[in-house]
């Protein structure tokens, strides 16, 4: 697995930029190139890991578009094409423009670059605004894609309605779904004077690469996903045929957005008093934790559940008990507050290698919302930890579990999970 690259992908850094001389700055390309060489499709799929930064995705797009694809198997070509399409439509238009500008400097004249350029200028949700605000870049991109003479000829042919200059349909319009809009866009691009070009408002939002839309600005106990909202009513003892039916329906919907975990997962569940919460947040954390437990029950090939022992929060005791099931991964599901000797989880995990146990342990912290302060909720700072609070976090969380699994087949499991994610993101547009 590309452990080092994956760590880079989610680390904030300088954006991808290109100087007038064509020098590209931003994320280092070394690990990208190596991963691409090993397997372009696996490399491409990593762009769909939730949390990959915009700069890193731009670097990935550049890596995916730059080289020739001659000799690639059809399955590889197909996967890379699908990811490239999503990146072109999901990254901000100026970022994609920067990538294409850099490729022009490198004289990357492949058909897949042409398709990406046309997709940016004619299909991207922000294309109208981009053409208005970055006209010179846009002209440069379209002339790189079509050839300068052809691009200008198409514009002149469309402006004068004279097909003898260039066959606009053959040169451009046949590639595009909406010929009328494409004609207007190209004419706007070459409008004179350029200052007359008023940036158009874009109607739609660009593609959501992280499937992260639709989250509430103000979080309540019941707007964190339908499944958790149902469980908020069920956990305190509420039961009715309506709630049962709703839970089944919402569980099915939640499961559909979560990749499969093909291995053996041991889930250590903290059911202590603090998970219940209090006041307006009562049952909120517990309900999302229960939602995750239910979803994992549907998506794991094998799952064992171990409650933390005792009356307080003994996370370490739960981990030790969970090892009996010989899992591929132990996931501790908690609110992050450990009190049966604070720090004991860290000690026990640090002890496992001495026992010859190499099963990874991770901590999944259920929070109320996006702004919870987690400073006191890292029971084992050296152990990988990920917070979640919304139903939309469950899919990324399971991908993260796959990333942290060290089973022999873990790479294939992650590839399958990311391919499922690819289809989900494509479903958004």
């Amino acid at each position: 697995m590309n452990t080092e690259l994956i760590a880079q992908l989610t680390t904030a850094g300088a954006p991808l930029a290109v100087t007038r001389a064509g020098r590209v700055t931003g994320p280092d390309a070394t690990d990208h190139a190596a991963a691409f060489e090993r397997d372009p499709a696996d490399y491409a799929l990593l762009a769909l890991l939730p949390g990959v930064t915009e700069a890193q995705r731009a670097r990935m797009l550049m890596q995916l578009l730059g080289p020739s694809r001659v000799g690639w198997p059809e399955t590889t070509r197909r996967t890379v094409d699908r990811v490239v399409r999503l990146l072109v439509l999901g990254l901000p238009a100026p970022v994609v423009g920067t990538v294409l500008l850099a490729l022009r400097h490198r004289r990357a004249n492949h058909k897949h670059v042409t398709r990406a350029a046309l997709r940016l200028l004619f299909e991207h949700a922000e294309a109208a605004g981009f053409v208005g605000t970055h006209r010179r870049v846009a002209v440069s991109i379209v002339e790189h894609a079509l050839g300068k003479a052809t691009a200008r000829g198409v514009a002149r042919a469309l402006r004068t309605a004279d097909p003898s200059i260039v066959d606009a349909r053959r040169a451009l319009l046949r590639f595009l779904a909406d010929e009328g809009a494409a004609s207007d866009r190209l004419l706007a691009l070459y409008a004179r004077p350029a200052s007359a070009l008023i940036p158009a408002a874009d109607a739609a939002a660009r593609l959501d690469l992280d499937l992260d839309g639709g989250r509430p600005a103000v979080v309540t106990a019941t707007n964190r996903g339908d499944l958790a909202a149902t469980l908020v009513h069920r956990l305190p003892g509420g039961a009715s045929p309506d709630l049962d039916a709703a839970q089944r329906r919402y569980l099915a919907a939640a499961v559909a957005a979560v990749p499969r975990y093909p291995g053996r997962l041991a889930l250590v569940v903290d059911r202590s008093a603090s998970m219940r919460g209090y006041g307006e947040r009562e049952w909120a954390v517990r309900s999302q934790a229960a939602a995750l437990e239910l979803v994992l029950g549907e998506r794991c090939a094998e799952m064992s559940t171990v409650d933390t022992p005792g009356a307080g929060t003994d996370l370490a005791g739960g981990v030790i008990a969970a090892l009996n099931d010989r899992p591929d991964l132990v996931a501790v599901l908690t609110d992050g507050y450990e009190n049966a000797c604070e720090g004991d989880l860290a000690r026990v995990v640090a002890t496992l290698p001495r026992l010859g146990i190499d099963v990874p342990v991770v901590v999944c912290v259920a929070t109320f919302g996006h702004s919870d302060d987690l400073a006191l909720r890292r029971p084992a700072p050296a152990v990988p930890q990920r917070a979640f609070w919304h139903e939309a976090d469950l899919g990324p969380l399971v991908l993260w579990l796959l990333l942290n699994t060290r089973a022999a087949a873990a790479g294939a499991w992650l590839r399958a999970g990311l391919t499922e994610r690819l289809a989900l993101v494509e479903g958004g547009r």
Binding site: T313, Y337, A340, C341, E342, D344, A350, T351, P381
Partner: protein, 320 residues
Amino acid sequence: MTSLATIDLAGFRLGTPQRVDNLTVVPVFGPGYPGVLSPRDGVKLVRVDGYGTVVLRNPGSDGRVGLAIVPLHVGYVQDGAQNHALCRSAFLAPGQEVRFEDACCVQETTGGYLTERDQWFFTLPLELRAAALELRRQGSYSKLWPAIERFNRGHGLRARGHLELMLAGRRAFLTQYRSRLELVAGQLGALFVLGGRLVGVEVAPNPAYFADVWPALVCFAYGPAAMHSRGDAAVAATPYEASTVEELVAAREAQLRAELARVRAVVDAAARDWADPDVTEEERYLDLRLSTVVGSGVAGQIVSDGARPVYASLFVREMN
């Protein structure tokens, strides 16, 4: 269980200690005392009549009628009003309304009187409790301000008689003690051990009563001292000396036994330090006696029915 500061806790049992920062909380279990309402049901703030005068009432709730025992050093916070705390506990008979004219204002600069509308309650921080107890039955509303100034200075806050600097300014941290240390089902009391010293014993008449006062106790009575004593540096996790899972389990069990022995030693030491205090009866209600306990190392108030402790809030007199 040991006798502490004249109260016999023989009928009670200790649970598994919970520990965060330097604060260890040991749950106490035992027989509930019938007929005492929890503060949520039996202790309602009616109003503040004037600076230093708090009026409480026992209304009962949902048809429940019973005696209420005002938690020692309870205080009320309300936006736009001057927050007050009580220096003593008291009985509230069913339906009774009581004026506490010896309450202290704990907010030096804000005007406005507390009313029955939205407010939340706290318990005075450990560092202020002995001073507040000494000031019971004294009339000045500003009497606790010098102690609050010292308390604030000790916590690196502005030296003013303004407890809200701690209660509101550190609230986000302090309230997490309620989650970091958890109430256990059936628990009706707790021992609070800070570092190697027993600093507080809290026993309620029943689990419902203790559940009501638990957040105020753990967050605001003992939380500030725990926060103050915690170290900043993250300590690297030291692996257990074990080469098999069985050895690891045994090592953890040994650690728990050692922790229980440590707590036992701490309690035994406190039993000696807190021995033979002066006990002064303050109020009676049927067979119940509310008394103030003051010894060289301990202070607080207890409610007892004969030899049986019903309510206790005992704490160290000095923090150092």
